[in-house]
């Protein structure tokens, strides 16, 4: 019996939560293949056009959190999420049709587009939480971060590319709030089970404080666009 069939059977008999560990990272297939290919920048620009309909040509998403910032994200993370969405391992009905091979293409096209996105300069004005550095909630958020998050997301939210841990510095507050809540409450099926366990006891206030802190971690200057008015010259 193959692994995929086992997973569907497990889900069917209602083991639900225990399948989360299987859903985090499926090895092999198009993820691995994509990451071994040499990217073509020109084709990346062409493929990204469909993504830009929502994530914008700059890859900055929306501070409202409807669409995340993609610019500067590790290509490994982008490939995993794309593959997860198109394989039905992460529920995202809005993005689903755009992640399909008919829209994006196969492993080579994915390699082209994720490499392009990873190199886009990031939004210097990402959406932030309400508590600035002087607020006690900011300090509490930092403590929560240091105690719970650094091992995987790094001291500055930079993530770990080859482990598929996302860069979260510079991400929009509202987007991270939604994802964190879905991960905590089991709605995001491709979440890392270690994270689900780690944040299980977080109250809503804890969640707001830690994400407020993350949204305010400075992004290295060399990774940022020169200004919030920057327009991606690859598109007209």
């Amino acid at each position: 019996m193959n692994k995929r069939l086992l997973i569907s059977l497990a889900t069917a008999v209602g083991l639900g939560f225990s399948t989360a560990s299987l859903a985090w990272l499926e090895k092999g297939g198009e993820r691995d293949e994509t990451l071994t290919l040499t990217p073509d920048r020109e084709n990346g620009i062409e493929v990204y056009e469909v993504c830009a309909g929502c994530h914008l040509t700059e890859g900055w998403g929306e501070t409202s959190g409807t669409f995340p910032q993609l610019a500067g994200q590790h290509k490994e993370v982008l490939v995993k999420q794309l593959a997860d969405i198109r394989e039905g391992n992460r529920d995202n009905p809005t993005m689903y049709p755009f992640a399909l091979p008919e829209s994006i293409g196969g492993p080579q096209a994915m390699a082209d587009v994720v490499d392009y996105i990873q190199k886009l300069p990031m939004n210097p004005e990402n959406g932030k939480g309400d508590w600035d550095e002087s607020a006690p909630e900011f300090a509490q958020g930092k403590k929560l971060y240091d105690d719970n998050c650094v091992k995987c997301h790094g001291d500055n939210g930079e993530g770990i590319a080859d482990k598929f841990y996302p860069r979260i510095q510079g991400q929009h507050y509202a987007y991270m709030m939604r994802q964190f809540e879905w991960i905590r409450d089991g709605k995001r099926r491709n979440a890392n089970p270690d994270m689900v366990k780690q944040i299980k006891g977080f109250s809503d206030k804890d969640m707001q404080m830690v994400i407020n802190y993350v949204s305010r971690i400075p992004v290295p200057k060399e990774d940022l666009a020169p200004s919030a008015d920057w327009l991606n010259p690859d598109y007209d």
Binding site: V50, G53, C54, S64, T66, P93, T94, F98
Partner: protein
């Protein structure tokens, strides 16, 4: 107030009244149609959807479109492909839904 100023004011008011509210709204609607990502799924022309099971909407009756927008936003309508659209509906206000429905009605079917 001088007569000429009054005349100018009257003329301006008349001009504003002559422009139907629908025309004003449609102009906004055209921009909203892009910025609120309608075009991404339904096509720039409103009749080339990205998926065959997504509807062509160009020229649809204004009242019908408006009702669907409201129902998908509120969750009253949650069948078919509406889950895909629900994710972006908090981007639009009541006024913007009105403007969008006006614009979509003017698109060539």
């Amino acid at each position: 107030m001088t007569h000429s100023v009054i005349k100018a004011a009257v003329a301006t008011t008349a001009l504003l009244l002559a422009l139907s509210p629908a025309a004003v709204l449609s102009a906004d609607g055209e921009k909203l149609y892009q910025t609120k990502t309608c075009s991404t799924c339904h096509g720039k022309d409103g009749k080339s959807p990205i998926m065959p099971m997504y509807p062509k909407i160009a020229g649809q009756n204004q009242a019908y479109t408006l009702q669907q927008l409201k129902d998908i936003k509120s969750g009253a309508r949650n069948n078919g492909q509406s889950a895909a659209m629900k994710g972006v509906m908090h981007l639009v206000s009541d006024d913007e839904m009105q403007a969008l429905s006006e614009y979509i009605a003017t698109m060539a079917p």
